[in-house]
Symmetry: C2
Subunit: 222 residues, 2 copies
Amino acid sequence: MLMPKQTFFNIPTEKRAQIMDAAINEFAEFGLENASTNRIVANSGISKGSFYQYFEDKQDVFDYIITLLNEEKLAFFADKRPPDNNLDTFDYYRWMIKTGMEFNSTNPHLVQAVSRVLVGEGLYYGKKFEKYREQSTQVLQAMIEEAIKRGEVDPSVDVELAVMVMETWNNAISTYFLKEGLKQDDTMAWVRLPETQEKIDKLLYIMEYGLRKTESEFVTNP
Amino acid sequence: MLMPKQTFFNIPTEKRAQIMDAAINEFAEFGLENASTNRIVANSGISKGSFYQYFEDKQDVFDYIITLLNEEKLAFFADKRPPDNNLDTFDYYRWMIKTGMEFNSTNPHLVQAVSRVLVGEGLYYGKKFEKYREQSTQVLQAMIEEAIKRGEVDPSVDVELAVMVMETWNNAISTYFLKEGLKQDDTMAWVRLPETQEKIDKLLYIMEYGLRKTESEFVTNP
DNA sequence: ATATAATATGACCTTCTGGTCACATGACCA
DNA sequence: TGGTCATGTGACCAGAAGGTCATATTATAT
């Protein structure tokens, strides 16, 4: 677990929250490389010296932000269960995507900060965050292998490629969410809008059945 | 057309190429915001003063890099024709993607520099490059509308979403190309490798028919 | 009350940034 | 040869960056 120095955890909770707030906003707006410790310090109301007593450097702060995101996501999903235990793989993936978007709504700036750095600055594919990526790809891989066994996913597609497809849509939807959702006054309300939900449905429908005209057809509220 | 000052075009061609080379490498490595004019100047062997006699600022240089990319792409595609004039839309798209990758191989660093800034720094969706984006989406939109008329694309998908799907795959493949292709000694040879070509085929097959198991099945060299 | 340890501070350091400008160099023409 | 104008130069500027540190403040323990 990536953590700041002990001193950071000795200070009052409120002050800690203030610092993380300022840091999250800084990273969300400027990314990792262009983030300024001077601005973080100014916006969180602590002194330069204190900052370096809490953290090694700004990378240290960012690492902790990732830890925070993981913790909050885990907590959010802890009491969430899919509507049906024996859901079809595609329905389950759809549920995961939608629930993920609900989580994003609960703390959009935190999500934006991490996404901006990992996806935007291309660090996602770097060595530093390898384990995070591998963790999520392994979940998807297991999911797809199981789906092929169940006869739900085309066995002629290779698993590695299918994982890439799902990851790509995960990222695309997440990026779309951050671009559109943050424009809204109430992000959560926007996510729950029938129009928003239908857009996701349609997109995942394409992932499921492709663009080519076949017998199947998309229908609202199937 | 976005252009440097006239002085830039008065200097010898070789010197101009040297400057653009240094600039392209700088942007490819550091992006737009973190690119350093000092480094560009040092690596291209001109003085600071000269730089500002050629360009307004580094944004000006980058604009010209985009112009260069467009010109070269246009020139490359000028004498390229699809193998068949009445190609199926999906076959045509596949041809476009593959030919695009061949182009990328001819000047990977130029492509990387632009991609790094537009996609990576999220400027692609900013106002500044709106017209470039609109230009390419309009081509795709026309393509899809035509395909629906021809009965090739599922008429129940909306056009806007289909464009997004194709753009997403365009970007994903391009990103994959830059990540993997630049590792190779001979990028062009790598692109033409049967394995690489088959990977693209499989990916576009999924875009065409989806992940869901249906009657259709992927076959190599159909 | 005193001593000790933990915490907070902002002036200060170096290094780099984008950008300017007075001056040097060289080409061309009279 | 002398004059003019385009081109080239790097020292220099102000501002901001990340990072340090001697000192001031506060809390704790005796």
